[in-house]
């Protein structure tokens, strides 16, 4: 299934699966998760950068491969993204019963 045909919940779950299994030592995998997080979480670069205590230009360099952080900074970033995904999935699940 392509992203274009995924439902919103499926998009969130797909990214959640990929974030859970990502090898943070793999630069391109880490970059892809960050890039997709921005669109799937519907957050701006500034909002994500603020949450990760980095600058917006730093986040932009990360997703464009013009710099990448040390591994020690990648795992907390992925953990934060997973937290955001989990809360959105829970929220959608809770409200899916409401007609």
């Amino acid at each position: 299934m392509t992203t274009a045909t995924m439902s919103r919940t499926e998009e969130l779950q797909d990214l959640q699966d990929r974030a859970r299994s990502v090898d943070v030592r793999n630069d391109s995998d880490f970059q892809n998760i960050l890039r997709d997080a921005r669109s799937v979480l519907e957050m701006s670069e500034s909002q994500i950068a603020d949450a990760l205590s980095i600058s917006r230009p730093t986040f932009n360099r990360w997703i464009n491969g013009r710099s990448l952080p040390h591994i020690a900074m990648r795992t907390p970033a992925i953990t934060w993204i997973l937290g955001q995904l989990n809360s959105r999935i829970k929220h959608r699940s809770a409200y899916s019963h409401v007609a």
């Binding site: 990760l52 730093t58 591994i71 907390p76």
Partner: protein
């Protein structure tokens, strides 16, 4: 009789200044800069831009929320140098070591998040040639003097002090990669959140926090070793 409040140490927090606090940061910067001919003036737009970009670091008093220290860490347009600049500490919070904390944590943050030497970038700072106040902060934070830079008169702010030849001259300092082990050792073994005069400071840099910075500096040292020593400048 002294109450528990009287004896409580003054507490500070190091944090990333958000754009919502840009006007607060600018007012603080302007207050200090307007009476100091050694500080490069920054406009409200500059400070707003640094804050919006998340490139501004501050220290505030935890009890009153008063901003008492500020600096920025920005990559130049050519993407070759991260400049640690705009270092100021309020007169009410001098001699606690806050300038040192700001400088060292800004450097550690750049190393952890940008791996400058991996991308052939440097960490530098400029100090007015006659400004002795921050010199000790940079020297004891393992920066080394690189050389003097004359600011072309057309770019030199009118408020800044000229030398006897009528020139505005800055001293350029470099944080060499070979200084990372010293910074890492300080963070691991010496920094425990206490400052002079029994004051304390909390580092607010979620989600990685202090442990993330410590681990990132260890990784940088490993990278240096793998690259065959201090090949970086």
């Amino acid at each position: 009789m002294m109450s528990a409040m009287d004896s409580a140490p003054i507490s500070f927090a190091f944090f990333q200044v958000r754009s919502t606090s840009a006007d607060w940061a600018f007012r603080f910067f302007k207050t200090v800069q307007s009476t100091d001919a050694y500080i490069w003036p920054r406009t409200e737009k500059d400070i707003e831009s640094y804050a919006a970009d998340g490139a501004l670091f501050g220290i505030r008093r935890s009890d009153t929320g008063e901003l008492v220290g500020l600096c920025y860490a920005v990559l130049n347009q050519e993407e070759t140098e991260f400049e640690i600049g705009g270092l100021i500490v309020a007169s009410t919070a001098q001699n606690l070591g806050l300038g040192t904390i700001l400088t060292r944590f800004a450097v550690a943050h750049v190393i952890a998040n940008e791996r400058p030497w991996h991308y052939k970038r440097e960490i530098i700072s400029h100090i007015h040639e006659s400004n002795n106040a921050p010199r000790n902060v940079f020297a004891t934070s393992w920066f080394t003097f690189v050389g003097k830079e004359i600011v072309p008169e057309e770019h030199a702010p009118a408020s800044m002090k000229r030398n006897a030849d009528g020139q505005l001259v800055g001293d350029k300092f470099l944080f060499p990669r070979s200084s990372v082990p010293a910074l890492s050792k300080w963070l691991d073994e010496e920094f425990d959140g206490t400052l002079r005069n029994d004051a304390v400071i909390v580092i607010e840099l979620p989600p990685a926090g202090l442990d993330g910075l410590r681990s990132a500096l260890h990784e940088e040292i490993q990278d240096m070793a793998a690259a065959g020593g201090n090949r970086g400048t």
